[in-house]
Subunit: 388 residues, 4 copies
């Protein structure tokens, strides 16, 4: 029968106590394009089973490991088998399941950063380039409609050539030593599970990704000053990076987890020869276009005057605030739309292809590498090096 069927997803990680797994599920389910069919929610079989029960999955589709999930799903008829594997584990369990999933014919959604370290990233990048499966890295913030509008306006020349990029990501939740009380804090400050960068691996990479995505230019050299502000913590919890882009535009990137009282107000401002654009997560449905000689303009999500990139990433008319989960859902929705289109032999719209992937991943890992190198160096500038 001709009827399209929903995409089936299996999840790796996201069991009890996890934060991001639940968000991935909200995001994947919201639009009715994907259903959660299977999962290896924890390395602990009891916990995985419990999570499967809580999520009302068929117990036969709940596994104790991603290896088991991959092998048993492959044994099912194709029409029942999962299509997508979503990986939401700590960073040390990104590379292996992603590699195996892709190599066994599953589309992959992977939480950022791409891998535990740069070597893994380079290898995974190669695997992604070889496969015909789709790979998506959830740099959530690129899913906001007004971020997409900002990107499109800059690409279309609305502000002229880019001269300046300010991006800041201030958090305060690690302003004191929480590592012994809080599961999130524990793994995110443990180099063995998180990688060698702390704050800059977790949120610095988001800021970097957002800057390059929005401004449409690549970073060429950096000057970083990372620090550990809380005694007893093994990895960076705060830092700032001066940047120069390939076109010589200047950038300032700050990220912190010790800005006490700050929540999560990622903010980006880009100034060009003619005008400037500003966006911040706390007011995510608004984009301000600053003009030097006429009134600033307030672009709003859900209005009729936005470009195609924003329009493909919104669900409600202006004034019905969408937010973080919808931004996340936009990434899943675009990913799913591409799969559906390809399945039907159709060309996905360019707006749907606009989800973060392999290049974002490898550049993010290179960012971590280069930032740590620069922060340890006496020299002002460190070239931004990346192989892919």
């Amino acid at each position: 029968m001709a009827t399209q069927k929903k995409l089936k997803m299996g999840m790796v990680g996201g069991g009890p106590g996890a934060f991001i797994g639940a968000i991935h599920r909200n995001a994947a389910l919201m639009d009715g394009l994907i259903e959660l069919t299977a999962g290896a929610f924890s390395g602990n079989p009891e916990k995985s089973k419990q999570a499967g029960e809580d999520l009302m999955l068929d117990p036969s589709r709940v596994y104790s490991s991603y290896d088991e999930m991959i092998s048993k799903e492959l044994a099912l008829p194709e029409s029942e088998r999962i299509d997508i594997i979503s990986i939401v584990t700590p960073n040390n369990v990104h590379f292996d399941p992603a590699k195996k999933a892709l190599e066994n014919g599953f589309h992959v959604v992977l939480d950022k950063p791409m891998t535990l370290n740069y070597d893994e990233a380079k290898e995974l990048y190669k695997i992604i380039k070889k496969t015909d499966k789709l790979f998506c890295l959830t740099h959530t913030y690129t899913g906001y409609p007004m971020i997409k509008q900002m990107k499109q306006m800059i690409a279309d020349g609305a502000i002229g050539e880019v001269r300046k990029v300010y991006v800041e990501y201030p958090q305060g939740w690690l302003h004191k030593l929480l590592e012994y009380e809080n599961k999130q804090a524990e793994w995110r400050t443990d180099p063995a599970r998180n990688g060698k960068a702390g704050c800059f691996g977790d949120i610095g990479t988001h800021a970097f990704n957002l800057a390059e995505y929005v401004a449409g230019i690549k970073v060429a050299k950096i000057c970083a000053d990372l620090d550990i502000k809380v005694d007893g913590r093994p990895i960076d919890d705060d830092g700032a990076v001066l940047m120069r882009f390939e076109n010589n535009a200047s950038g300032i990137l700050t990220a912190s987890q010790i800005d006490a009282g700050c929540e999560n107000n990622l903010k980006i401002r880009v100034f060009g020869e003619k005008a400037g654009l500003e966006w911040q997560q706390e007011d995510n449905n608004t984009l301000r276009l600053r003009w030097p000689d006429k009134p600033d303009e307030i672009y709003r999500a859900g209005t009729g005057y936005l470009g195609s990139l924003a329009n493909e990433n919104i669900r409600t008319p202006a004034g019905h605030p969408e937010g973080y989960i919808e931004a996340f859902a936009n990434i899943y929705r675009n990913f799913a739309r591409c799969i559906y289109a390809l399945r039907k032999g159709e060309e996905p719209k360019p707006e749907w292809w606009d989800f973060p992937g392999a290049e974002d991943g490898i550049r993010g890992m290179a960012f971590i590498e280069n930032v740590l190198k620069s922060s340890a160096s006496d020299k002002k500038w460190t070239p931004f090096e990346v192989e892919y």
Copy 2:
């Protein structure tokens, strides 16, 4: 086997071109507690079929009318049958499907306002009171976590006895005659499908419901001035209502669809003997507590210091903006949680029971009745009359 199964939902309305049906689906699906199983999406069988195909439903569960849906679903084994009927049609198709759904043993989610007119509302109210099925009316704005926090703080005495309520709902989308271009505008300004109030039926009722919900007091008398600002429109598109509550608190309610350039920034402020509280939809994750003699306090969604009512209605930590769809989803989630609990023979938490229902519905319809009466009267005050 003991495993819980997802609640199955059938939808009435919400076919191509509809606005609110898609939002209901996002909201119902997001949390993985409900799945969309069936639908009578349009009175036009072709359109209903098409909608079912777009939504990837089993074609055998896509119906040409709600009557057909009810009878055919009843013929299915209970384990396959839908549990919930969600009604998202224009107001003239609220009463009949809701009545039949309840009388045939389905839980009902109904878009507001309750019915086309007050007589239908009184009859439906009686039906709801008799049934053991759950009834939910989607007064979305009561689903916002910071609205729930506001309600709880007022109930707990944070601002002292309430003296003043300001509620305003400014929209501008009908600032000119759109009725011949826009499907939404068409039925919402047609008394036969929308009911005899225009703006006050559509959004005035939301504002009224929110005021009573948040302030925790009932309106006792009103003085309304409704108007038609756009020539050629048959029903009100703008108005203001002075109110006095049972405890003599004063209220000012304004609603408009002709405030050109306004989107949907529903705003409520409540002042008590000791302090004031303010919330607005454009910054829905923030609640401001105003103090006369110390710094105002900014309560934020997702933080650790909120009350149980807010805490049960949030998915992400502070700084990850949730919005309108999540507010909607909170209503569906609480509704579903109650059904699950009752199914298991457990008592639902009081926070879950906090979704709008029959009383909100009948009072909303009485509000329309009383406002129209007051607006037509030469007397200043019209008592707020309601039978239930």
Copy 3:
């Protein structure tokens, strides 16, 4: 010698403990067009003397009463004599000094409201119309540059014909009984010194004046609901007024002194057929132009794209916030500029004549009269009656 000399001002009231007198002095002095030369700062001769000393005035120009000030100043040679009398006393001491000052050849600046009661206002209005001296009533809020821009844009048709005016003036300082602790509260809630309206005499009149000034249309009928929210207070401390303007535009005016935690955030929004304009005192250098179908525009004080009315009322480039004292100073500056121009036999610019005067005064007093009448009436509408 041809050199122009600064205008000399004498003040009535404004002694120790007064609030508004000091502001009048800041405002009058700031621009170097006026100097404070004389004063009858208090009915108590010792207090007046002390005030004169604190202000470093020549003791021979410090008087025990305005009668003394008028007679002794008249005895001085014209080149030494004061030009302007500024009256900043409680409302029961407005009429008599204003009358005498005008009749004796002084220009008058009078704090609002015009007089203690409507009868006095009608008489003073006649006196003003007969004299060739200038009369200014300090409805401060009309001095803000972005209020002037708003008025000019509306007059120029930027939003089309006006349909709606929202004006609100929420204060909270009288949310409890302060009358026995606070000098301001004492006289402002005493009908013998303040007049028979409390909140509506003090700030309701400001809101009314602002609405008519900005919207450029006159109120035709009103429906008021005033109340006393704090037990033991003799006059209104809270209220709301529905309005219809001459062109049938609708208005909602609220004013309160019991909105606990509110400071002084006077706010006005005007919607026309095509667009809307919003301003609020807390962000007084910004004016938002709302469009239904393109991005809203943010007009800012001190920019190069404003109209002549704003441009004549600003001192600094954009981004250097001016505020309340500058708004006050704009009224004094325009008043002084007119006097200088007339002295030189020149025609003052129309932008300078744009300070509040006799008509604002008589309409404000009529507003009090009509609001009290409406609030006491069972009928919905009371015509807005005023004689002048």
Copy 4:
């Protein structure tokens, strides 16, 4: 006779076309403590004379040069002679008049930066240290009441030890080459009149001064990246500086004149071990105290709960916005209050002494020196060196 007399001020610079001179006059006059008595408003005698006439000064007190002003004023009896010389010329005419004024017994108010270059600054610093006359440098932004509150709260330990300082000063007025059209742009981008730093001399020094003033800690080392973004401009128009303070706190300072569309929104955020504080000029009457585990608090100017430093620098109750001119006036008022107190043989309050002076001046000039040195260096860190 015992009566106090107003302080008399003579101005150097501030003739036709100047921006800052008029602001100095507004600020000096507003509070009635100072009168403008004399001036050498321009090096061009005709222009100086014209300015004197416009300002309605006695023509005998209008001079063609500051040398003339100093010598002729000294020839007057002390009771008639000016007390204060206010210098508002371009930077190349700061040192000489300041030196001569102090050496001839006048109190001095000097616009920032202190001098054209660091050598002059060191010499002037020594002169100031030797004289018994008062010296004030108008780092305006330290005059805002909520900046003073911020400083006092940090000094009192409200946020714990300081870990992070963000300060940014984005302007856009030089986003294109204006140098041939605009008098301000002309001298401010001419090294001979402005000094060798452009943006960093003009506004970078303000940001630096504010950071040290508010945080109460000194910068120890810096890493600067300055740039010229507009072709054809001889000096920096944009830059960023990473900083470390003496206690190892991290700082990020950005200043730009090419951020197209930005006005003047100087912003500072300071984070300590326990909490954070934020202020920005666009909302200058608000200070936000961020807490990690309870609601943020909004401190507002003019309220009853502020500290002594804010309270001595405000004129109106909460909700009556004061702004830039009042901040400027606070500096003049504190300066004047100190002079009055000393004249009367009284000890000025510590809050009055809190105006910027010699140390701010020399550190500001050292900042320029060090920033240029760092920006030209290949090394990451340049120690912050200053002699005084």
